[in-house]
């Protein structure tokens, strides 16, 4: 008797939760699942000048696995790794400083971190172009100060790409780092120093291990978008080193178009990201298992 009542309640609860998630499900099906299915189907078709021929072909994958597109992938990985590492190195001290500030200053500093989000990304990248250009603000200033005699050619180099990438993605690293450091009990550092650890040892044995979760989260937020970066390399990079994102775009933009190739490249990138995510998840689980305190 009671069990039937309970199961009826369960069923009702199930039904209502389905109803509640229906709009999201429809949205995701229309704009996520179906487009991906189209991409998967396209990757197995043959290219035509503007569209695709409906003939099954594995040419795109064959080309990818024969290594024709190794360079863009390597470039993208290098960019993602550099960006992530620099974001950790630059973001950690900032997050630490904010976490240790007084409450009022802390909120103010967090607002400063968030303010760039209020300006459109493209506008921010263009302002970097103005800043870094051959006759731009930076070169003018440095020449006027007499530090350099010739303008530096930074715009349209890989350095410029990394610079702007770090600028754009730094907040995504600082915020998760801040959220773990803010919870860190700083008397633990006192305890470590009391027991004979100097500042450096206390940092590596206490602060860093306790901030691992923030580093994980920040890395996810920075590394994955950096891998597929298109806009920044396109606007401040050069055409000699093309990143995966750019190659995919060109396959669709330039005529003759190659939809299957673009689709196959996208899926390969997706696969690599998925493998990476799994690896990181595995690492994270191992870290969690080792420290049952969480």
């Amino acid at each position: 008797m009671q069990s039937t009542l309970q199961s009826r309640q369960d069923r009702r609860r199930n039904l209502s939760s389905w109803l509640l998630s229906l709009p999201t499900l429809i949205w995701l099906t229309c704009f996520f699942l179906i487009p991906y299915l189209i991409v998967i189907i396209y990757s197995f078709l043959s290219p035509d000048i503007y569209d695709v021929k409906f003939e099954v072909s594995l040419d795109a994958y064959r080309q990818i696995f024969s290594g024709d597109y190794l360079r863009p992938f390597l470039l993208s990985f290098r960019l993602a790794i550099y960006t992530t590492l620099l974001c950790i190195l630059l973001g950690f001290p900032v997050a630490y400083f904010i976490a240790r500030s007084k409450e009022k200053t802390r909120n103010l500093l967090l607002i400063f971190i968030i303010i760039p989000f209020w300006t459109n990304l493209i506008i921010r990248i263009f302002s970097w172009r103005i800043f870094l250009a051959y006759n731009g603000v930076m070169n003018d200033t440095l020449i006027n100060l007499g530090i350099i005699s010739q303008p530096l050619e930074i715009l349209r180099t890989d350095l410029a790409v990394i610079l702007v990438m770090v600028y754009v993605y730094l907040p995504y690293m600082i915020l998760p780092l801040y959220s773990v450091l803010e919870k860190l009990d700083f008397t633990l550092l006192n305890a470590a120093m009391d027991l004979g650890a100097n500042e450096v040892k206390a940092f590596f044995r206490i602060t860093l291990p306790l901030a691992v979760e923030g580093i994980f989260a920040g890395t996810l937020l920075v590394f994955i978008p950096a891998l597929g970066a298109y806009l920044i390399p396109q606007l401040v990079g050069n055409q000699q080193s093309l990143y995966v994102g750019q190659v995919i775009t060109y396959k669709i933009k330039n005529i003759p178009r190659n939809w299957p190739m673009a689709s196959a490249l996208s899926l390969t990138l997706l696969l690599l990201v998925a493998i990476l995510l799994l690896l990181m998840y595995g690492l994270y689980r191992r870290h969690q298992k080792r420290s049952q305190w969480q």
Binding site: T187, A192, M193, G196, N198, R205, P209, S291
Partner: protein
């Protein structure tokens, strides 16, 4: 083994003087307590000995060495923190081993010494657990083991039992004393709990508003408080204040401004007699007063007062009577003795006699400026004084 010497030690936080010109010698091997209300500067004092705060002026010495400016990791001093501050991401073994690991000592030796410490605190079988898997009392033991493994000259304990419940606190207190005896180093203990400080310490210092009000062995401070603050903060007491009208050889007359001249014998062997005309305050511990229905037989060295019971609080181990004597109120603690059970029990409104030995009347204040007002005595406590303290 060296003494800890505090010389003219002061610490300012902005315009607030947390520690005010403290001079003290804590002998090697001693179990010394700092006792005071929160905000009295005792924790700041401890943090200066540990090295977490630098003195604004004065010095901290360990024997002949001035350690005032040394960072915490270069001092032979270890601390047990109020909330233990165990490292949550390390096992208990690694927590205890921390001090040795940062010194890059050989693994085999680390293992041996960690287990030696874990055995001392009876936690060896739990070495693989994490701090969040053990109880408060066990965390306390691990904190002790972790602090002692470096073989410090001095162990600092910052309210180490505050987070434990009463029974466990009593148990850990005894264990702390045993550990102190076992390792034989100086323990400096900070607490606001007077019973903890009284029971554990060889000597203790009562602190108020950044200064040491009185220091000495617990019984000395309890029986012979040097100031109103000491008498008030440690234990419970009755204050009697008034103007001295006459000083006789073995007693003095006091005008308590309650309409009657009262005569009190005070113990003159410990204290110098006050001048006639000066305003003084006496302290009289409630348990020193005897209470009876019948007038006691006259004795030279006994003080007697006639009063009326206003309130009775039964407290198990003893009963507290509030007795009104003219305008004054006295608190009296009386134990229940089976031999008196034939007597009719004392009741509200009963007329009773209070009497006590003259050595139990103790002058705590001769200057008079700290004297609680008569109307405060009227309400049976020291509200004005409490407000003036920084608690």
């Amino acid at each position: 083994m060296d003494d800890i010497i505090l010389e003219n030690l002061s610490k300012d936080f902005g315009s607030f003087r947390a520690v005010d010109n403290v001079n003290l010698v804590i002998k090697s091997g001693e179990l010394f307590s700092f006792l005071g209300p929160s905000g009295c500067g005792k924790t700041t004092l401890l943090r200066m000995i540990a090295g977490f705060e630098l003195p604004s002026s004065g010095a901290v010495r360990l024997g002949s060495k001035d350690i005032s400016d040394l960072p915490p990791y270069k001092r032979e001093v270890n601390t047990i923190f109020q909330n233990y501050s165990l490292f949550p991401h390390m096992t208990l073994f690694d927590n205890v081993a921390f001090g040795l690991k940062v010194k890059r000592i050989h693994k085999k030796e680390i293992r041996d010494r960690v287990y030696e410490m874990l055995n001392l605190v009876k936690m060896a079988d739990q070495a693989g657990k994490y701090p969040n898997q053990i109880s408060g009392g066990q965390k306390q033991r691990i904190a002790i083991a972790r602090a002692l493994i470096n073989k410090p000259s001095v162990l600092l304990l910052d309210e180490p039992l505050a987070a434990l419940d009463l029974k466990l606190r009593q148990h850990m207190l005894i264990e702390l004393m045993n550990i102190h005896d076992a390792v034989g180093i100086t323990f400096i203990y900070v607490t606001h709990d007077q019973s903890e400080a009284m029971s554990i310490s060889d000597r203790l210092a009562v602190m108020n508003q950044g200064q040491i009000v009185q220091s000495g062995p617990p019984d000395d401070i309890y029986e012979r408080p040097a100031s109103i603050f000491s008498a008030y903060f440690i234990g419970e007491t009755n204050f009697i204040s008034g103007v001295v009208t006459a000083v006789h050889e073995d007693y003095l007359e006091l005008d308590c401004q309650d309409g009657s001249d009262r005569s009190f014998s005070i113990d003159s062997s410990f204290q110098s007699a006050p001048e006639p005309g000066s305003r003084i305050t006496l302290s009289l511990r409630p348990e020193k007063i005897a209470i009876a229905r019948n007038k006691p037989r006259y004795q030279e060295d006994i003080n007697m007062l006639k009063g009326q019971i206003e309130d009775i609080l039964y407290l198990g181990t003893h009963t507290q009577y509030i007795v009104r004597v003219g305008k004054l109120k006295f608190r009296v603690f009386s134990q229940h003795k089976r031999v008196y059970f034939d007597d009719k029990a004392l009741d509200w409104e009963d007329n009773v006699w209070l009497f006590w030995h003259d050595t139990d009347t103790w002058v705590v204040d001769m200057a008079g400026d700290e004297t609680p007002d008569a109307d405060l005595n009227e309400s049976g406590n020291l509200q004005r004084y409490v407000k003036r303290g920084k608690s």
